[in-house]
Symmetry: D2
Subunit: 164 residues, 4 copies
């Protein structure tokens, strides 16, 4: 695969607690500082908005893959909104387009993205997100990681994407 | 919602053990005997093929929502193959189109369908499928059930779909 | 390709004149009498509703591939509504799933379906629909036909599908 | 609609003549010089590759919405490849995401994109592409334009997008 652009998918809930939002913002800043592209679901709420804000404010590129067919709910921090008009079917696009997925705390949408990513053998980092034990077999195959800090997530991305 | 047709989504792995396949076949027969429509992923393997076979041999209607853009891998027991050409994005169609989902043992594809179903508030029955504890909160809201026999699954469908 | 089920896609406008609606109804009846499956966009308006009505009243099988993620606008004459939640992206599913497309008078949605069908080499019959000269080269390759009566359309389907 | 980013969709054939390719390259350069984002189908052939090349070499941003689920056929000039894995269903995303579509010479894929764009009321410029008379009514409603030079296309974009 050509690696001119490294695309990091950041997934997580449409609503989230203050600490998770701050972590997402810091993660977005870290992604931008590396020159990587941040890709997420693009809406103006929760982890999507916070991670985009961090990357945007650091001057980074932010791409949003929206479920909607209109721009009413696009985050102000998304430079390139891709309007799919496909609802949750767009989750499949998120995981195909990213070189690695960081899953922040979220609900069923986020779980579906973890599952679709692993199915298509895209590596996933669980960042302070407890996904139970359902995906444990993937950890043994080097596709699923758990990290507790932004620095550890960034280090894991560096190691993983370079060998993909 | 109009309820002229009751559509039961049966999800599960593209490969499965002998007991799970026999359960899927029996479930398909039970669905057909009720006059319900069986909808699944449509391929000629695993739970998809087995559940379609059971329903088909009982004279029931079987609809397959295929990931492929061609008919090479359609189950012989699918009367109406819908070719989406969309890969795993078609999982979103499965859960939107069914009135209830029965999740037989499977992998990440099945987990993504459970997650997408619950997100869109479609009830899910876990039929001998251990999905860990990740979806437990939905059990408390009457959207997630666990059953251990075909009879119990059919009874749960009857109760749940009539009140949806 | 397995040909257990023959699926006829009937496309056309969400609104239409009285004569076009009557033609669509008659076409639906003819399709059902042949034992073929009618597949269309599934909504309760225009050519979709009329063609489904004709087939339904004759006891035929009718499948609707809906753009919506809910059942509010499903035609009463659709036995199997497939809810895609994908808007016009579902047009691609219509043409992949049908063995042949009959294009009744319609607007840009119908034109997009003719174009997508021909691109994937699915035969198209223009039934009293003037699509200009833009698709003429396909007529020379045996993929595009023009017919003026329901009987001629049915005869053309018989000839074309048997050799596909 | 927020207009921080102006996204120009450039559609056209996967293969094209030398003059059409040179026009697409020049159009890409012009789009980049304006600071607009170029969005196309993303593959390494025809109008897609040529228009991306023009924009890329001018330092512009290029986004490709690929039909594929892998990166094997991505143009070298696409900075952000979005892999949909959805085949021609991704045409619907192209037209929803762009503020205006420029249709260069192409085949049925391009015709489907023109039709889908007009259906969703996205303006379309036919750039040396003869689409017959099928879309003429949209010209009267200020949604369809015909232009013969890159300069005229760029001027038309400026006028049209500022009033959308």
């Amino acid at each position: 695969m050509k690696m001119k652009s490294v695309i990091i998918g950041v997934m997580g809930g449409g609503s989230a607690g203050a600490e998770d939002l701050e972590n997402a913002r810091e993660l977005g800043r870290g992604i931008a500082k590396q020159g990587w592209i941040l890709l997420n679901g693009g809406r103006n709420s929760g982890i999507m908005d916070a991670s985009a804000q961090g990357a945007f404010e650091e001057g980074g590129m932010t791409v949003g893959i929206l479920p909607d067919d209109h721009a009413d709910r696009v985050s102000d921090y998304i430079r390139i909104p891709v309007l799919t008009g496909m609802g949750s079917a767009r989750n499949a696009i998120n995981v195909l387009s990213a070189h690695i997925i960081v899953a922040c705390p979220g609900g069923c949408g986020t779980v579906s993205e973890i599952a679709l990513a692993l199915k298509s053998r895209c590596p996933v980092i669980l960042f302070r997100f407890d996904a139970g034990n359902i995906f444990d077999s993937y950890a043994q195959h080097g596709l699923l990681f758990r990290e507790e800090s932004v620095d550890a997530v960034l280090e894991r991305i560096r190691k993983t994407v370079s060998v993909v």
